[in-house]
C-alpha cells in the first residue's frame, strides 16, 4: 500500500478513535410511534444477552461471568433511559430463581423468536419505519404485567483487547481491528408483537467498563423515542 494511502487511513483511524470511536446511534421508529398512534407508558425489559469476548494475540476467550454482569448493567442503562422518557419500567419478572421450568421455556421461546428476527432487523433496520417486522402475537404467551405496553429486547457484542492484542492492533493499524461494543435495543408491542423501535448504538468497548459512558450511549440511542406525555 502506498505510504500516502496508509497515512490517510491512519488519520481516519485517529478521527475514529478521537470522536468517541464513531458512536453510531441509528434509531428507527415504527410509523405508529411517529404518528403517535401508540404511546408507550410502561415497558418490561427482558433479560439482556450481551456477549463479550477477550481477544488476545492467541485468539478469543469467553467471558461468561463478565457477560452476565454487563448484561445487567445494560438492562439498568436501558431502564433508566426509558424512565427519563417518562416510561415506567415494570419490575423484573424474569429472575431465574423465581421462574418454574414452563415460565423459563416461554421466555426462552420468545427470546429465540427475537433472535431469529434480529439479523434481518440489523440488515434492514430502515424497514422498521415501514412496519415490516413483527414477532407475532405469540409474545402474549409471556403474560407480562397487564400494564406493560412494550417488551424490550437487548442484545450486544463486545471485544475486550488484552495488552498483547492491543499491541498487534496498533502495529497493524491498517487492518482496522479495534475493540468495540455494539448493542441493539428492540422495543416490541407487548400484544401485537410489532417492532415499534429499534436502535443499534456502537462504541468503543470502554463503555462496557464505564457505566457513565454506557448510560450516555444508551440515552443517545433512544433519543428519538418520544417521551410519554404526562396526563
Amino acid at each position: 500500500m502506498k505510504l500516502c494511502v496508509r497515512f490517510g487511513f491512519f488519520i481516519l483511524c485517529c478521527a475514529f478513535v478521537h470522536y468517541g470511536v464513531a458512536r453510531v446511534e441509528a434509531q428507527y421508529l415504527h410509523p405508529k410511534i411517529v404518528e403517535k398512534k401508540v404511546t408507550i407508558h410502561s415497558a418490561t425489559i427482558l433479560p439482556a444477552k450481551v456477549e463479550i469476548v477477550k481477544e488476545s494475540a492467541k485468539g478469543s476467550e469467553m467471558m461468561v461471568a463478565e457477560s452476565a454482569n454487563i448484561s445487567s448493567s445494560v438492562m439498568e442503562a436501558v431502564g433508566s433511559a426509558l424512565q427519563q422518557k417518562k416510561i415506567s419500567v415494570v419490575a423484573n419478572q424474569f429472575e431465574p430463581a423465581s421462574m418454574d421450568d414452563s415460565r423459563k421455556y416461554q421466555l426462552a421461546d420468545i427470546q429465540t423468536r427475537y433472535d431469529a428476527l434480529l439479523p434481518k432487523l440489523v440488515d434492514k433496520s430502515k424497514d422498521v419505519k415501514k412496519a415490516r417486522f413483527t414477532l407475532g402475537d405469540e409474545v402474549m404467551l409471556l403474560n407480562v404485567h397487564k400494564d406493560a405496553d412494550v417488551l424490550v429486547f437487548i442484545r450486544g457484542q463486545g471485544r475486550m483487547f488484552t495488552k498483547g492484542k492491543t499491541a498487534f492492533s496498533i502495529i497493524n493499524i491498517f487492518d482496522l481491528d479495534f475493540p468495540f461494543a455494539t448493542i441493539t435495543v428492540g422495543i416490541v408491542d407487548a400484544r401485537s408483537g410489532e417492532v415499534l423501535a429499534f436502535t443499534k448504538p456502537m462504541s468503543a468497548s470502554k463503555v462496557l467498563k464505564d457505566k457513565k459512558a454506557l448510560n450516555k450511549m444508551i440515552e443517545k440511542s433512544l433519543k428519538k423515542l418520544p417521551a410519554t406525555p404526562i396526563p
Binding site: 461468561v64 421462574m99 426462552a108 428476527l117 502495529i171
Partner: protein, 457 residues
Amino acid sequence: MSFKRSGQVFLLTLCLFLTSLPISARAPSVTTPKPSSFEQPADEKFEFGKVDQDLLSEIKLLDERFEKEGVVFHETNLDAYLNRVGTAVVADKKLENVEWKFRALRDPVPNAFALPNGSIYINTGLLALLDDENQLAAVIAHEITHVSERHTYLRNRSLRKMMLALNIINTIGNWNPIGGPAGLAISLIASVSPFMLAISVLGYSREQEKEADLEGLKAAAAAGFVADGMPNSFKAMQRDVEGEQLNSFYSDHPKLQERVNYTSSSISADARKLTEEEAKTAKGDYLAVMELVDRHDVELAINEGRFRSAVFVSQKLVSLHPDSSENVFYLAESYRTLGPRNAELTDQQRTSGAKKKAAKTRSKRTLEEQDAELLKTPAGQEAWKTNSEKSETLFLRALELNRFNASAHRGLGMLYERLNRKQDAAGEYAKYLELAPNAIDTERVRRRLAVLRESMN
C-alpha cells in the same frame, strides 16, 4: 553474506516456520496411531495447564447459564433414560475435571455436543430424528469420546498457537521492509496463511470427529448396544427434512455419507445385528420413551419456523398412537403452520442450488413474507389448499377422539381465521376459552376473538 541478505533469509525462514506450524500441529493426529480412549484412560496423557483450567471455569459457567436460560429440557423420565444410556456407555470411566451429565437441549435443530466438563447435550431435534436406543447410544458415545480424548482442550491449545502465528505473519506481511523476490515471497505467504490456517484447523477438527465416530462406535458396542447404531444415526441425519445440509468447504465434520461408509466398514462381520422384528420393537420402545420430547420438539420446531420437521415428528407421534387426540392435534397444528409449503422436499428442492437459494431466502425474508410470496405461486396455493384441508380434518379427528381437547379448538380457530371464515373462527375461540379459561394463552385468544368480533360488526 551481507547484513541485508541475512535479514532477508531470517525473515523468510521465520515466515515459513510459522506458516508450517498449523500443519505440523495437525500431523500427529493423522500419522501417529492413537490408542483407543477406552483402552487407555485419557488422563494418563493429559495434563491440565492454566489455559485449560481457564477454559474449564468458563465452560462451567456456560453450563449453569444453559440451565438458567431455560434451554435445557427437563422431564423426569427422559432425564432418567438419558442418564441410563449415557452411564452405560461411560461405564466406570473416571476422568479428572469431568462430571458426566446427559441432558436434552430445547433446540429443534438435529445436533448434539459435549462440553469438556462432561456435560453432554442432545438437541430435542436430534432425539426426535433418531429411530432407536442404539442410535442414541452411538451419538452419546461419539460425544463422550470428545470429552475423554480432551478434544476441546487440544483444539483450544492448537488454535491459540495458530492465532499467534497468524498475528505475527500478518505483522510481518504488513510491515515487510524487504523488496525483491524475498519480499514478494513474504507478502505471498502472509496473504495465503489465513487460508492455510483454515484448512489445517478444519482438517484437525475433521480428524477428531472421525476419531470420535470410530471410538464411539467401539464404546457403544462394548456397552452392549448394536454397533450398527452409529452408521444408522448418520443415515437418520441424512434425511435432511429441512433441506439445510449444504456441501460446504468450511465444515468441521466429514460428510455424512463418508461417515456412514467408514463406520459401516469398521464393524466386523460377526457383530450383533438386529433382526427385522427386533428393529421394529426397538423403534417402538424408543418412540414411546420419546413421546413427550417429540411433542415438545414439535412446538419448538413450529416456533422456529421448521414446519417440515414439525410435520415429520408429529407423523411419528401419530404412527405411535393413532388414537391419541393429543398426537393428532400436533399433526394438525403442523399442517396448519406449514402453510403454502409442501410437507416433503421435492427432488428439485434437494439440489444444492435450490438449497442455497432457500437458505438465502430464509436469511432475507421473514416467515410472513415467505408465506406471501409462496401464495402467489400456483404450487404454493395448491400446497396451502392441501395442508389446510388436512389440518381441518385432523383437528376434527382430534376433537372426535377427545371433545374436551381445548387446543384443537384453538388450532381450528386459527385455521378458520386464516381461511377468512370469521364466524367459525370466533366460535372455536369461544369454545377454547370455555374449556381452558386459565390457559397460558387465554389473553392471546381473547384478543383475537375481540378483533374478529369487531371486524364482523
